[in-house]
Every structure is written in structure tokens, then in C-alpha cells.
């Protein structure tokens, strides 16, 4: 072996080059395989991000009438609607506020041509009813509204009608949305006039004095 090297010294250099090449190939191979081993769990930890819920605030609870009496603990005594209505005959013709009496006196009513029984359920006054007669609990009132207000409901479902709070990105957090009746009183649903807040105090766009003055 040593004699061979003495005769041909260039052989040593060739062996060195071959050895270095093999080493670098091994390193490349190891990197590739280790890299694959490392990236596999990363791929697994990136599924489609789980979405937080969009919660719609529930409608008001089933209404109860305040009798004006207090129990021994000082809590108001209330009565279910059906307490009186189970013994009275429903009047299907009432659709103006001044017709109303007893507990309903003074109700501000302005909701198109609807009558009381368009929404209130004459068979069970502790619920509402849909156009097809099925009863709907008070907290689920949106189903009832959507029967007539289809375009509003469509816009609502696409996020372009109705106030909301929370996150635009549901992957990062939840969202809470208003119910129809949070903003619209079902008896007079038109949004009320309001006084604007925070009047601007800068001098930009100060209204010009009208020409007629």
C-alpha cells in the first residue's frame, strides 16, 4: 500500500477527493431526511383553523305581566299572559292601539296592517306563531320576523344589517350579533329618531349662510 503511494503520490489526492465527496453527499442526504422528519409535524399542526362561534343574542324571554303586588321577599308578582287569555275570547279584528284596554293600554303600535294575532298565538298566548300556524317561543322571534322581512334577513345573514361586536376573523375570536328586536320594537319597528352625539368643533365644512338670508 505504502509502496503504491510512493510510486503514485497522486493516488492519495484522488482518495481524498473521493472521501470528501462521499462526506458531503452523506450530509446532504441527512439534511433532506431530517428536514422531512421535522416538517411533517408542522404540516400536521396546520389544519384549517377552528372557527369561533357567531352568537345571536336571544330574543326577550316570554313576557309576564307585572301585577303590581309584591311577595314576602319583596319580589314582584307576575302573571303569565295565558292567565287572563285562557278565559277570554280572542278578538281577531284589533289592530290599532286605542282599541286596547286593561294591561295593554297605551301601547305604541305601528307595524303596518298587522293585527295582534298576526304574531301572537291565540292558542297559546305565551308563544308566538308563524304564518303556517306553528308556534314559536318568544326568544326565537327572528324566525317570525324573517317571514315578511326576507331581504333584511338575507342582509343580516351576510353581515350587512344589524349591529355586532367581537371579531371579523372568526379564527381569532367569536362574534356576538344583535337580534331583530334588540333594535326594532316589534310593535313599532321603525328605528326611532335620535339626537346625534359629539358635534364636530373644527372649522372645516362650516355651513354657509343660505343665500336667501
Amino acid at each position: 500500500m505504502s509502496r503504491l503511494l510512493k510510486q503514485h503520490p497522486s493516488l492519495a489526492w484522488i482518495a481524498l477527493v473521493v472521501f470528501a465527496t462521499l462526506c458531503s453527499l452523506a450530509v446532504v442526504w441527512a439534511q433532506k431526511n431530517l428536514g422531512a422528519a421535522e416538517s411533517a409535524p408542522v404540516m400536521k399542526s396546520q389544519p384549517k383553523p377552528e372557527k369561533h362561534p357567531v352568537t345571536i343574542k336571544p330574543g326577550p324571554p316570554t313576557p309576564r305581566l307585572d301585577t303590581g303586588l309584591k311577595d314576602a321577599q319583596g319580589n314582584a308578582i307576575t302573571a303569565a299572559c295565558s292567565t287572563c287569555h285562557s278565559t277570554t275570547t280572542p278578538n281577531t279584528t284589533r289592530n290599532t292601539a286605542h282599541d286596547l284596554f286593561q294591561a295593554h293600554r297605551g301601547l305604541n303600535y305601528a307595524h303596518g296592517q298587522l293585527t295582534c294575532l298576526s304574531c301572537h298565538n291565540a292558542k297559546d298566548y305565551d308563544t308566538l306563531h308563524l304564518a303556517d300556524g306553528r308556534s314559536v317561543a318568544f326568544p326565537d322571534v327572528m324566525t317570525l320576523c324573517a317571514q315578511c322581512h326576507g331581504t333584511a334577513m338575507r342582509d343580516y345573514l351576510h353581515g350587512s344589517h344589524g349591529g355586532m361586536n367581537g371579531h371579523w376573523n372568526l379564527a381569532q375570536g367569536p362574534r356576538v350579533r344583535n337580534n331583530c328586536v334588540n333594535c326594532h320594537d316589534p310593535h313599532h319597528p321603525k328605528f326611532p329618531l335620535v339626537r346625534p352625539v359629539l358635534p364636530p368643533r373644527d372649522r372645516i365644512s362650516v355651513p354657509k349662510v343660505p343665500a336667501e338670508h
Binding site: H158, G163, N178, S205
Partner: protein, 331 residues
Amino acid sequence: MNDPAPASPKTPCGGNCSCSGGPASASPPPGDEGSTRRAVLKGLGATLGVAAYAKALAPLTELTKEASMDEFLQKHYKELSKDEIATVIARLTQEAKEQYGADVTISDPKPQEGVKFGYALNLSICNGCRKCAEACHLENNHDRPSHQSYIRVFEMTKGSMDFEKGNVHYDHPVPQPDKYYMPVQCQQCEHPPCVDVCPVEATWKEKDGIVVVDYNWCIGCRYCEAACPYHARRFNWQKPQIPAAEINPDQSYLSNRIRPQGVMEKCTFCLHRTRNGRLPACLEACPTGARVFGDLNDPESEIRWVLENKRVFVLKEELGLKPQFFYFFDE
């Protein structure tokens, strides 16, 4: 050119006076008289010089009170390293404590990957209550006495589309039957003219579409205010006055931290909220739900549904600035 002047002292006095004439006069030597006047003038000059120098340096002495040397030497936001921005934020937090008595948290959220923000406003249901402007005022730590806000709500005559003719100073119950209401804030233009005119590059458009200002780099020249066709930029004429209890402590460097006096500011789509996935403050405050916010790049987003299904327009489209803020009407 023969100058007669040097010869004149040698000329004998030709008048009737008693002087002997010539240089050999009895008066004190001219050198003494000259030196006295010169000394006075020198003294005067030196005094004025010192006074001018002191006046010129006066801002440096003030630096220690309101603004530190660190602030004076601070680099542009984009050139700050991670450590440097942390130092800057620590200083700003300290300043908020010293000057306003408030414990604030200043973050520096970056744009989300692949997200491009868009905003749409439903003019059919906006009732002009200005709750959005108020929410902006509170959220963004605006100067209280001036009622500063990034949002102006214009009362518009039905049939008119030119908000320049609108009235922002209306003060009566809203909505009026013959009016509609158009809130205008920064439109986050695709080609923002405010960025083009800034002489010091203190304002720029970020990856998610938000045009931001480095309040510490702004020189307050107000070119951007003049360039903006939507009147969306505001100038801090005074150091903002905010009671400590009313300061919103959730702040970020590029958005709602308390601005110094003499710099420009603008709507940032509440980037301290929206870059963390939350809705902007003006949207949450809207009682009618007239505002729609989301990611324009997400085909499932609400904002995309509005753009694809509603009659949408942008303000001053003819200027070609491509606003990322849209207006629409219901049927």
C-alpha cells in the same frame, strides 16, 4: 484713480477757526477714540451673538422636559430593529405615565399574512347618529376639547352625491326625512396621494392596505392633509388633552397611541384591533349595523358578499385613487 482722502489730513485747515490744522492737533490721539467705539461695538456684537446663540439652542434645553434626546435621534419606524422598537415603546409608555398619568400598553402588531382590509357602509340604514365618530374619539385617544375624530358624518340632501356639499354641523334629531347621512373617514386608497406628497416618507401604505403615519417621523407640514380629497387627515394643533381615566390603554405604535403636538394623524381601521382579528371600534358602535368590515381576499367574507351583491360605489371615483372603503344602498 487718485483718491484724495488719504491726502486730506495733511492739507492745512483753510477756515477761520483757531485750529492749527494738520495732523499735529491737540485732540486725543485718534487711536484711543477709535478703540473706545470699537470696544463698545464689539461688546454689543458679542452680547447679541451670545443671545442669538442661546435662543438658537433653547429648543435643545426644552428637549429634556417634553422630548428626550432619544426621541430626537429616533430612526424611521421601518429602520427600527426589534430591540430598538422595544426601547422606543418603553420610552413612550413611560411618557404616557409621566405626562398623562396613565398605564398604557403599546404594541406593534404587524399585518396578517394574505389579508387585505376593506370597509363598506350601507347608506340606506345609516341614521346619522354619529356614534361611530364618538367611538373613534374614545378609542383613538383623541383630544377631548376639540372633539377630534377620524370620522365626519355629512348630512346630505337626497339626490345629491357630492359630500363636499354636505353639512357636518347638523344638530337636530336624525334621520330627517329628506336627508341621508354619509360618514367619511380615511378611504385607505390603493394609490394614496397623501403618501405621494409626504416630503419625509413619514406615511406609507402597509401590506394589509392600511395607510399609517410614523408620528415620530412626521414634521407636521400638512401636505398630506391638503392632498387628501376625502379630508381624512387631522392635525394635532395642540398636545392632546385627555383625562387619565378616559385614556384607552390598549394602544399601538402606528395607531392610537397618544400623538405628540404638531403631527398628522389619520384613521388606521383601528389596526391595534383589526390586526388581532377584532372589529373596528366604529363598527361595534354602530347601532344600525350599517358598517361591514372584513378581508377583501377572503371570498367567504361579509365584505365580499356586499361587493358582489349590492350596488356599490366609491367616493370621487374619477380621481382614480381606488379607495378600499365602499358605500352601498339597499334595494
